[in-house]
Amino acid sequence: QDNVRIALVVKALGIGFFEAAHEGAQEAAKELGNVEVIYTGPTDTTAEGQIEVINSLIAQNVDAIAVSANDTDALVPTLKRAMDRGITVISWDSGVAPEGRQMHLNPSSNQLIGEMCVKMAADHLPEGGGDVAILSASATHTNQNNWIAEMKKVLPDYPGVNLVTTVYGDDLADKSYREAQGLIQSYPNLKAIIAPTSVGIVAAAQAVTDAGKIGEINVTGLGLPSEMAGHVKSGASKSFAIWNPIDLGYAATMIAYNLATGQATAEPGAEIDMGRVGTVTLDENREGAMAEPFVYDASNIDRFKDIF
């Protein structure tokens, strides 16, 4: 039997999170046996770059494309063409508009992530609450924006949390650092920075450390244990969350395989098998969530920091 070729297209090569997802995909491939994983992506996080990559995947006539999109809408025409040529297309992590994919796998539900971020910030606020700011990645990243929207939805439940502003670090270490610095200076009452991005959270923690504000300002959000271990130990970050990217890559590959081989169809209400991770149930937008985000703090960081 021919190999099933599944392309895992990521936002950009070289990002630790996606490397971990790749690992998960390899694990799934090994488990399935007849799967070849093509791990690819553009040099920088642009939609145009991803389109080029996808074009060449279409040309190679792969069996499935699983993409974490740099842009919800821009990829749609290209992915449509891929589907027209009989290629299974799903998105994971960062989604594509419904007409551009068969289904979307959220790492976790947006709502859960948003809630978790605000909760982590609120948990460590001093008595009487304080100012909280969000340091996001690029203003164009779908998932970031969804999470921020969810955060704003749950704010009324946390009266102590006073959200003052949202700034963008573009997933660049230096820009995020400078933005965090600006926040620290502009808001003397700032008590927490929520950075739902693995680049931003590290930069913000570094900025807080350099400003000598450890203990005063808590950095939280989404990050990788390996990158955050030092900051958790120093106290710059009391806690942060992330889902397991290895599981995410694994699950995306499993789903892509099942759809490509006709073992499942992506339609509202369908339940699709994700191997060891369980099953995902699709909603009316053909979206499903993999799992709850997991919180890391001083108590468990050492266990995970060498894994991803």
Binding site: L13, G14, I38, T40, G41, P42, T43, D44, T46, A47, E48, G49, I51, E52, V53, N55, S56, I58, A59, Q60, N61, D71, T72, D73, A74, L75, V76, P77, R81, A97, S138, A139, T140, N145, Y168
Partner: protein, 333 residues
Amino acid sequence: MSETTQRFIPDRLESRWTSLLKSWETLLVAVAVFVFVVNALSSPYFLNAWNLSDATFNFTEKAMIAMAMALLIIAGEIDLSVAAIIALASTAMGLALQYGAGTPELVLVGLFVGLACGAFNGWLVTGFGLPSIVVTIGTMSLFRGIAYIILGDQAFTGYPADFAWFGQGYVWWVISFELVLFALVALFFGVLLHCTGFGRQVYAIGNNPTGALFSGVRVARVKFVLFLMTGLMSGLAAICLTARLGSTRPSIAFAWELEVVTMVVLGGVNILGGSGSIPGVFIAAIIMGLVTFGFGLANVPGIVMSIFTGLLLIAVIGAPILWHRLRGEKTLP
């Protein structure tokens, strides 16, 4: 000792065919053929009409801009704001869409914003005598900055279906609209540069702007027109790209300016102005398209690919110079 010193001066020392054979374009064609053959041998998916057609989408928009940019660089100027113009034009089209514009209006808006940006660049450069490389580094931030101010973290989507044809439509079989448009653009600029008095003036300006001015060339006006045309082509590229993506983000076409310049330089245009040809840039665009596509088929990461693009650039520009050197033709300061 001969009494009459009136000597006959021939028009040319070598025939036009000989000089054509020795030209840069010939070298480029050879490189293109080489890349084509290597690709065809190394990937079973390469020789497929649809795949080749898809591959053209990777470069047509940039190449359209490169045509106008070639003229601009030959005239001794440069425009680094082209990608930002795309972003601004695309944003303007999105805005127009919000106000209920149809496809014809969208196209007009895209072209007009491109023209306006080009005019702004041209005005700064010719009106104030500022160096274009610096001016356009500034307008590059300014234009894209305006797009960010308008759009922020939003996107414009929902372009009409017939608008999508500009970026996704096919004119005949596998021949896409973009490819045809690119060919027409190339033809236009090729004729303009090589067959008209305007083109001659462009060369004159690139070789010696003061001398051209003293020869009655309206230097500022020619340069202004070139900036306008580069802006217009960026507007055109914005239409195609927006139609192809079906959406607008302020980060659209990010960092394309350097790729466009690379294409022009690879095409044998002297970055310092004064020489170069449209056929050269045309072939260079195709080479870059083939190389990217070939590497893409082998799933080589884009960044590793960029090592080869960089090396190709240096090798293609450096090799002839070294070759002349080895033949003992020392270039003089």
